[in-house]
């Protein structure tokens, strides 16, 4: 989808370059061993800088979401209503404290990688199990997105009701 990007720097560029190769990698702190998200210049738990880009499984559970009915960005207007998900990764859930997790934002997409149509949107809410896939966003840059994890048992999701 047509989004205008500024040139990326440093660890931001690396994160999305891995995504372009179909790999989801996060920074793993050399000092304390924790993964961090979003990408940053130092470890939020021990403040040390040295890390390794480490493969992480792109699987998780929807922790929260919202459904946009009135799009502000022109690139998204054709896809209304679209879902924005906040997904708890399975990896490092509840670490270092019970309330912490690696929570990754993404859209719900269909099998073809496009933003999910209404019938898919209505199947997903808090508690849904999702898996990551990648969409090309610019040359050499990929964007992680989420699709329904058809291999996982799905609870009845919580969805906004009036």
């Amino acid at each position: 989808m047509p989004l205008e990007l500024n040139p990326l720097e440093g660890h931001h560029a690396e994160y999305f370059q891995y995504c372009a190769r179909g790999e989801f990698r996060l920074q793993k702190c050399n000092a304390c061993g924790r993964l961090r998200y979003p990408p940053g210049s130092a470890c939020p738990w021990c403040a040390q800088a040295d890390f390794q880009w480490t493969p992480v499984e792109g699987r998780g559970t929807v922790h929260s979401y919202f459904e946009v009915h009135h799009a502000i960005q022109p690139a998204f207007k054709p896809f209304v209503p679209y879902l924005v998900l906040l997904v708890d990764l399975e990896a490092q859930k509840g670490v270092p404290t019970a309330n912490e997790a690696l929570r990754v934002v993404g859209n719900l997409v269909a099998a073809d990688g496009r933003l999910a149509p209404a019938e898919l949107v209505s199947r997903v809410g808090i508690g849904s199990r999702v898996q990551m896939r990648f969409t090309a966003i610019a040359p050499g840059l990929g964007l992680p997105q989420w699709q329904i994890d058809e291999s996982a048992p799905q609870p009845r999701p919580w969805r906004y009701q009036e």
Binding site: P44, H70, I72, A75, F76, V84, W158, Y160, E162
Partner: protein, 410 residues
């Protein structure tokens, strides 16, 4: 703020421009008008003011101090213009107190001027909607997560999931504030709305309908801060600052959702400073100004600052407590949802007038120029809270960043 500054500083002047959509004024002119009104309200002249502070949200949405001070003949001994939103008013009051305490200046005016309708709209439309996406924004904007509504929505939705908070309860924030606005001649939207009208207004992004979102308006607002000692000699009953918390945060400012519960907001941390420093508890507060950029923000603030238990915000905002005539009225001007959007300064201004027992409603003026309040809160009537002695202003920038202040009638 440590306890020894409690009651040692006061807000002595408040002023604003009309709230308009299409003011036809620059932010520079809005600023100087609001400041002139606030200084006159204090019974001072520009020559008496030697500290100036302001905030802007987006680069270019305000005019900085040099032009504004120059236009008014103010020579600052101290000035600062900072980037910030809804947590800034309280934070700047605290910094003003510190600057005065340090002998850097004596009398500070704090202003916020914005053409939120005619120029940079807080809703994020216009040029900002198509701005190129850079660096860490790729983790949000590239997914169509850009506006304030989007940035807060994960918290709101999870709250409804965790606590069964109902849309009808949330909509009551707008209903109540609209009743208050109907008694505020200067409010932009003075019509009273019902729960049905809020819920049938178009959905913007779940769980927010159009009427769950604050207005966008052109306005300037200003307040004057000085020592309690100096305040005694000025025009109005001083409104004393009992405590301030400024730009207090949850962990993980880079993306606060990484540290849950995501239904807990900055107030949970800020309250640990606010109430001990103020020497009062939420029960002793007579009225509040709870940041209502959206209905839901107001609700969350009441929970996290301890006016009710976590998860009870839906009940708190819909059981009559926050209505004029109720136990602890809130946003008596109609707030950001109805009066005008100021990034929060208007909520402080309203509570200053309330604590002076001088709310600017349509009650009759006596010969001394002060209003004779009837306390009849019917539509178009009185807006004054009876026996208002202690107020709390709860500010909000993000779920993870907030501010607050306790004010008391001097």
């Amino acid at each position: 703020m440590s306890r020894y500054l409690r009651d040692r500083y006061a807000i002595v002047g408040v002023g604003e421009t009309p709230y308009r959509r299409g003011a036809g004024m620059s932010t520079r002119a809005l600023a100087t008008l609001a400041i002139r009104n606030a200084i006159a309200d204090a019974g001072l002249s520009p020559a008496d003011v030697d500290g100036v502070m302001s905030y802007f949200w987006v680069q270019g949405d305000s005019t900085f101090t040099p032009a504004v001070a120059g236009d008014l003949g103010i020579r600052p001994n101290f000035y600062i213009d900072v980037q910030g939103g809804g947590s800034s008013t309280e934070a700047l009051v605290g910094i003003a107190m510190g600057a005065i305490e340090a002998g850097m200046c004596k009398v500070v005016v704090i202003y916020r001027a914005m053409n939120g309708y005619s120029q940079v709209r807080p809703g994020g439309t216009g040029a900002r909607a198509v701005a190129p996406i850079a660096d860490d924004m790729l983790h949000t904007r590239a997914y169509g997560m850009q506006t304030a509504a989007h940035q807060f929505a994960f918290t709101f939705m999870r709250h409804m999931h965790d606590f069964d908070t109902r849309p009808e309860q949330v909509s009551m924030v707008k209903v109540v504030h609209s009743e208050h606005a109907s008694n505020n001649p200067k409010a932009l939207y003075r019509n009273r709305v019902s729960v049905d009208e809020v819920l049938s207004s178009r959905m913007i992004c779940t769980p927010l309908h159009l009427l769950d979102c604050c207005v966008e308006s052109d306005n300037g607002t200003a307040i004057v801060v000085t020592s309690a000692e100096r305040a005694r000699h000025l025009r109005h009953t001083p409104v004393l600052v009992k405590a301030v918390v400024g730009r207090c945060n949850k962990p993980r400012l880079d993306m606060h959702y990484q540290h849950g519960p995501i239904t807990t907001t900055a107030g949970a941390y800020a309250k640990e400073l606010l109430w001990p420093n103020a020497g009062v508890s939420p029960e002793e507060v007579d009225l509040t100004g709870s940041y209502d950029a959206f209905t839901f923000t107001s609700l969350l603030l009441f929970e996290d600052y301890g006016f009710c238990g976590k998860g009870e915000g839906g009940r708190y905002v819909s059981d009559g407590t926050t209505r004029l005539g109720g136990r602890r009225p809130s946003n008596t001007s109609g707030g950001l949802l109805c009066e005008g959007y100021t990034h929060g300064m208007s909520l402080v201004i309203e509570n200053v007038r309330q604590l002076r027992h001088d709310a600017d409603d349509s009650c009759p003026l006596s010969s001394d120029g002060r209003r004779r309040h009837t306390y009849d809160h019917r539509e178009g009537g009185c807006r004054q809270v009876k026996r208002a002695e202690v107020a709390a202003n709860l500010g909000w920038a993000y779920p993870g960043t907030g501010s607050a202040m306790v004010l008391a009638r001097g």
